[in-house]
Symmetry: none
Subunit: 222 residues, 2 copies
């Protein structure tokens, strides 16, 4: 049985080249080409011949690759997507993985690697080169280490207490009631919090609290 492939790239010549290349591989066929994200989605919608794997360029007009990827994965979770990359930044690459990309292929890769990538993704849902894996690993590690650096958070217990109540969407009066304080006192704490955390307002305080893991998103009902 053939592996059905679709290609989305804004450069016609590139599309045609890849198509020709894929034709030279055994048991593969290109079912359609798209020149931007919108067209890709439309073709996936209309085509009776759904692709198994899509080769997706990230930088396209109309709708870029990342947005297209997200929508694709939402509507057709079974379709595997291999990202065609020129020279993207790490955060963008991570975003595509988080959006569900199944593989990554540099645009200057060898033809053999294209074939290998497609077959691996078809078999294992998965193909990444070593540098990519290194980036992924960094991405995994990063989250745990965002803070840790400036961690001496200086906040006193009372301040942390007030901050936690702020994060529960209480205003100063309510907090004062709860802690048996004057609202002026609470305002004082609040002010110190703004200074110490270098925040501009309540939004900043909430972000600070979450970033520094003073407590967890899940514990705050909404």
């Amino acid at each position: 049985m053939n592996i059905k492939i679709a290609i989305a790239d804004d450069q016609k010549l590139f599309r045609k080249g890849i198509t020709a290349l894929i034709k030279s591989f055994e048991h593969m066929q290109v079912v359609f080409e798209a020149e931007n994200g919108l067209e890709l989605l439309a073709l996936c919608e209309s085509s009776a011949n759904k692709p198994d794997i899509i080769l997706l360029d990230l930088s396209m007009p109309e709708m870029n690759g990342l947005d297209a990827l997200k929508l694709l994965k939402e509507k057709y979770p079974l379709i595997r997507v291999i990202i065609l990359s020129s020279h993207e930044v790490e955060s963008f690459i991570l975003a595509t993985i988080q959006a569900g990309a199944n593989g990554y292929l540099a645009k200057n890769a060898e033809p053999e690697e294209v074939e290998q990538a497609i077959r691996e993704v078809y078999k294992n849902d998965f193909y990444f080169t070593l540098p990519m894996l290194e980036i992924m690993r960094k991405g995994l590690v990063k989250k745990a280490n965002i803070i840790k650096l400036d961690d001496q958070d200086n906040l006193t217990n009372r301040e942390k207490e007030v901050l936690s109540l702020i994060c529960k969407q209480m205003n100063s009066n309510e907090i004062a009631d709860k802690l048996f304080l004057s609202n002026r006192t609470v305002e004082g704490h609040r002010n110190n919090l703004l200074l110490k955390t270098k925040s501009r307002n309540t939004a900043g305080l909430v972000l600070y609290a979450l970033k520094h893991k003073l407590f967890d998103l899940d514990t705050l009902s909404n």
Copy 2:
């Protein structure tokens, strides 16, 4: 030049077996063995002959592998660590990667794979098998998918735009400037956001945005 290796495992026989195995590989030597995490750290401390790579069992008495790994990476960030795993759960595996593990090796792996893993880690800082990579990928993706369930968030694009700026600690006037709107309009959006998200104030909006992954903590500077 030889690759210097240390082994930490609580089973003596296993240690000796691996040591023997490694002796059979070219340009490798075992510099010491430890039977638990504490001993491993002590030996790293005292030994003049620091290992390049440590083969580390996760389940050990006294101090388990994960804790040992964390301390190791803190003190000796240059030492690479390959985890020896029997049958750990995913979350534990991810924890080791976040703690800086450079590779993962199943205890029932083929001898050739041990050699390959060591050489790859020595060369690339990095060796993971396909199933491991799959787990890593899931780990990366998971975070992005916590919500999604109740996702019909009703928020219009404009509202999301305003919300994102609120989360960047902007006030209504600043948002109005940025979006070329009247501040009254922004206030209108803001009000709708409060209603739709059932929030009481800015803190609630930020929490909502984060909970529903409208964007990521990391992307919001603080």
